[in-house]
Amino acid sequence: MEDYQIVDLYWSRSEDAIGETSRKYGRMLHGISYSLLSSREDAEECVNDTYLEAWGRMPEDRPAYLGAYLSKIVRCLSISRFRAEHRQKRGGMGRVTEELTDCIPDGWDPHKDYENGLLADALNRFLAGLSEEKRRIFVRRYFYSDEVAAIAERMQISPSKVKTTLHRLRNELREFLEKEGVTI
């Protein structure tokens, strides 16, 4: 079923909406949540919460990309769950955020950038300036939290090339954020 048809089901408050969503995106959403939480049960609960969240947000929202819309919800719910339950542990998500410390410019005040909407805008401009291949690698790793081996398989390149590309991208992002004036 096409995305717009599923969204129509949400808008018409049809219970089939969740079944169709699960059929089309359930596996993907579970994958995102599992790579953050490393627990099948927790991931399953987050996916179910995602359906409820989507049910609650629509009909107000009418997403053009339903998969991306749901991915964001499940990612957000999974991160919250991880932080609530594993505050001291560093699991799958911990490894990904640890890598991201490479991107932090010295003296960065994120709250100031957040208030000004600078960071979200800068991230989108940074991604827009990348080649499609590099952008996909970045998004797969830092949005979807995919393992390097999974990205390599998906992109049909070697794992070491993925690692090299990510290493370069983190440096480029840090330089980009510095250049964009997100430092104080």
Binding site: M28, W108, L127
Partner: protein
């Protein structure tokens, strides 16, 4: 800034990545198709144009020489031109130079598991595409001191096109610094061309400067 601060900021950055544009998220979800088709088409056009030009040139020279009665000389020129064109997929630059040093460096052959990146000694490591093993040449302190400044000063290096690297018989060359850092002279000098703890795969971006190529070959020969 403490590490704890950085970790917290990285968490924050990770959260913000959750707000990137939907089309980027959707793009990354779609199956990826490498643009091999477009490349082959481009390559076919290049090969086609090259062949046409070669044939035209050979024919022109041959006809010209026939008209002036210098068949023998004309054949020689024609053969030379054909040889030059057919060599367009031969190794170039540092790949060619390393190919020439293949026999002379057979004592450098090292299995992958024996390549030591944390020995405290800098090395030149390279690999031929048709071999499973690597070749390793340890560098003296003096050689390292000569090599590093050139490695970091490659602004004048020539960019490598995909076609130019096709005929290369060398899969990779790296300078390892002995502390885990690995640098390829075929990647543009930046913070991102330094790997750590592994001989990373790469697509050549530049042909090292002549000065650096000469120095590497001088050390290896």
């Amino acid at each position: 800034m403490t590490n704890w601060d950085k970790a917290r900021l990285a968490d924050y950055l990770f959260d913000e990545i959750g707000g990137i544009r939907d089309d980027f998220v959707a793009e990354a979800e779609r199956p990826y198709e490498r643009k091999a088709r477009a490349l082959s088409l481009r390559r076919m056009v290049v090969v086609g144009v090259s062949l046409t030009l070669t044939l035209t040139a050979v024919l022109g020279v041959w006809i010209g020489n026939r008209m002036t009665g210098r068949d023998e000389a004309g054949d020689e020129i024609g053969n030379a031109m054909v040889t030059q064109q057919s060599g367009s997929t031969a190794p170039v630059g540092i790949s060619l130079r390393l190919q020439e040093l293949r026999e002379a460096t057979e004592d450098c052959v090292t299995p992958k598991e024996k390549v030591e990146l944390f020995s405290g000694t800098a090395q030149i490591v390279w690999k031929y595409a048709d071999e499973d093993t690597y070749r390793v040449r340890r560098l003296s302190a003096a050689e390292t001191d000569r090599l590093l400044p050139l490695l970091n000063r490659q602004e004048n290096a020539t960019p490598v096109s995909g076609e130019a690297s096709d005929g290369n018989t060398v899969e990779g060359i790296w300078i390892t610094l002995g502390d885990g850092r690995v640098i390829s002279p075929c990647l543009e000098a930046s913070k991102g061309n330094v790997g750590y703890g592994e001989l990373f795969d790469y697509e050549p971006e530049i042909e090292p400067t002549d000065e650096l190529t000469e120095l590497i070959c001088d050390v290896l020969s």
